[in-house]
């Protein structure tokens, strides 16, 4: 993966988070502690500020440095969770330019890290409720060698998964204190995950950007 592509991935993610920060904060004000957009925007702004240094590294090291930057700057629970996702993806990155199959393995490794860090599983109304269906879709399409239209199917999987969090009862984080009252709202962490996946796909496969 080229230096330029990493630069564009960072710019894409940072731009998406910045332009949706208010939306993330509004979602978090409904069921969380109301700082998700502010925290994410702070972290991704710092990532953008360090993009040249990060993009100069081999991809695995770049992902680890990006993750550590998010840990240090995002704060809250999202910092360690997104930081772990990036760091553990970095640890699973091959030396050669990653194939789609490698990308699937990397995402699975990142998700395992997030599950361990957050002591969470699918169905708890968290970022995992978007990340896991996306990783499952990617893995199954790669396994079946059905890579035509993969980008659109990933975007669709993320969107459907995000909307399914509305009916879930939160089992982790501040929203879990609300119990049944957490129903009827999108999960802010699932929303930021869907936005980031959209941004990444938009850079890797610009035809499907939206």
């Amino acid at each position: 993966m080229s230096n330029t592509l990493v630069l564009r991935l960072i710019e894409g993610m940072a731009g998406t988070i910045e332009s949706h920060a208010d939306q993330l904060t509004r979602l978090d004000q409904a069921i969380g502690d109301g700082d998700h957009g502010i925290n994410m925007a702070r972290g991704f702004k710092e990532l953008a500020a360090q993009k040249a240094a990060i993009a100069a590294l081999p991809l695995g090291e770049a992902l680890k440095k990006a993750g550590m930057t998010l840990v240090m700057k995002v704060g809250g629970a999202s910092g360690p969770l997104y930081g772990t996702l990036f760091i553990d993806m970095g640890k699973a990155t091959p030396e050669a330019a990653p194939t789609l199959a490698d990308l699937s393995v990397m995402l699975d490794a990142g998700i395992r890290g997030v599950k361990a860090r957050g002591k969470a599983e699918v169905g708890m109304k968290t970022m995992l409720d978007v990340l896991c269906p996306v990783a499952d879709t990617l893995r199954s399409l790669v396994d079946q060698n059905e890579t035509d239209g993969l980008d659109e199917r990933i975007i669709a999987a993320a969107g459907h998964a995000l909307h399914r969090t509305t009916d879930m009862v939160a089992k982790r984080g501040r929203a879990s204190f609300l119990g049944e009252r957490s129903k009827g709202h999108l999960d802010p962490g699932a929303c930021s995950s869907a936005l980031l996946i959209g941004a990444v796909v938009g850079v890797l496969a610009p035809s499907s950007a939206r």
């Binding site: 700082d35 925290n39 702070r42 840990v71 240090m72 700057k73 995002v74 704060g75 809250g76 629970a77 999202s78 910092g79 360690p80 969770l81 930081g83 772990t84 860090r117 957050g118 984080g173 501040r174």
Partner: protein
């Protein structure tokens, strides 16, 4: 080992952390290294892995360090701070599953008696 286990209080609020440390000073004394950290990287309520790492280093003891943490991100950011320590130190820092204020006082009391890290953590976790 003659060194005394250090205690670090991690709260979303710097004032809560400071207040818990004040209670330790009043009820246990100054013989146990105890400090508190709180606040996010921008100075608002929250937790910050870098501040937690500095806190662990400031109360560092060869006997180890016990952390008392409040909600959600405090525990996860503490885990990240522990991962940033070198391997030799990493195994000598533990997070106690105990209420912050009560846990800090109980842990410091146990530490002041020269107990091991495991004993200090167990004392905080058993209190109710």
């Amino acid at each position: 080992m003659s060194a005394t286990v250090g205690i670090l209080v991690v709260s979303h609020s710097p004032k809560v952390a400071e207040g818990a440390v004040d209670m330790v000073r009043q009820m246990v004394g100054d013989e146990v290294a105890c400090t508190g950290v709180g606040g996010d990287p921008a100075g608002g309520l929250g937790t910050d892995a870098a501040k937690i790492l500095a806190g662990i280093e400031s109360v560092w003891s060869e006997a180890g360090v016990a952390l008392l943490v409040d909600l959600g991100g405090a525990e996860m950011n503490s885990e990240m701070a522990i991962l940033m320590l070198d391997e030799a130190r990493r195994g000598r820092v533990r997070i106690a599953a105990a209420p912050v204020v009560e846990g800090a006082v109980i842990a410091a009391t146990e530490a002041s008696a020269g107990s091991t890290l495991d004993e200090v953590v167990a004392a905080a976790e058993e209190w109710r």
